[in-house]
Symmetry: D2
Subunit: 118 residues, 4 copies
């Protein structure tokens, strides 16, 4: 119960819930992004398709396909780093946040325009 | 930008992300629940199918079907209140949280059992 | 326990924790701001000194003094609205967020300058 | 701005804001706990008095005193771990959460008693 109090909540960007459909994501893709976001926050920046499938209603091979599609459509980046002779990979949601921010800015600008014209 | 700082985040229960699949929800249903959770937090406890459809990749009639199914399967309650001669309705996610909590408790008990047997 | 899961967490701006001292607030003032922020989020935008004192280690008259000082120093606004013949008042933390944002922007600019000079 | 959206918020337990005064903490001590909580969440489980002083309105030696007092009064634990020949130390807020939970449970029990008597 203490864990529920101190580590039971994840602070997610409202803008994702508001605008994922507008930038062309469906519910399954948005949920996958929320799962990746949670893994990153908890210190695992490169969850495997198996780990994701353990929390979702699709299997590991479907998760792989979803991940590939998110990368191909430019919502998700795979970042490679080399530390000495050790390579590591991590997911970055930066491209997704950039798109959401653009949509947000655009709708604010249009909003202000309409208000000025009134 | 200030709004993003002070009202840009929604604190959601991690347990929902961890266990929605385990209790038989798919991604579209879980996203609908997150949308309803957000509406409730923002003071609108009975969002219409139209309002939900405006944020999701399904139309109002599909949203209606999803809502009906969530109610029928016992994840969502509709609470009716009478204030004088005015009736109002609101959604309650209480049944969902109860199920998630049961699953959580059960898995903790099993975990402890295994640890004791080791 | 369900309440702890669904309503136990408050998402607060990290920037407040990082920079309240820098903008000239002490710990008691920052805690009072956090309390006001929480009341606003929960739908009570004008908590009384008594309500605040009920959660803090100072009494109602000390809370009044703190509130007055926060207003005088330009961290807190009192907004008056008239709805028909009914006046209502609410606190706005807008001036505080503006200051925090200025400090944040300034420190980022200086940071970039230093990086460019290197 | 993207960082503000994805990493600008910290989800803190409301119970801390509601009941720190009740368990005998003042505002400065509660703010120090919030700072430690934030450091732990960000992966630094043993912030130095210097690091804390950098975010607070007291200097490093005052921070040391506050930390010592929180430990002595049983709100804060220092946990020592040995990994091979390397010792590491970290703060645990477990004792604090336990106290807050006790206070919360007690007040709920009393509440229910009063309701039953009515």
């Amino acid at each position: 119960m203490i864990e529920m109090m101190t580590d039971g909540a994840l602070a997610i960007p409202k803008l994702l819930l508001d605008s994922y459909a507008e930038i062309g994501l469906d519910e399954a893709q948005c949920m996958m992004i929320l799962q990746i976001f949670k893994y990153i926050k908890e210190g695992n920046a490169f969850p495997t398709p198996n780990e994701l499938a353990g929390k979702m209603s699709c299997d590991a091979s479907q998760c792989s396909n979803h991940l590939r599609e998110l990368v191909q459509r430019g919502f998700l980046d795979i970042v490679q780093e080399k530390d000495g002779s050790v390579y590591s990979e991590s997911y970055s949601l930066e491209p997704l946040w950039n798109r959401l921010m653009s949509v947000h800015m655009l709708s604010r600008t249009q909003h202000q325009k309409i208000e000025q014209e009134d």
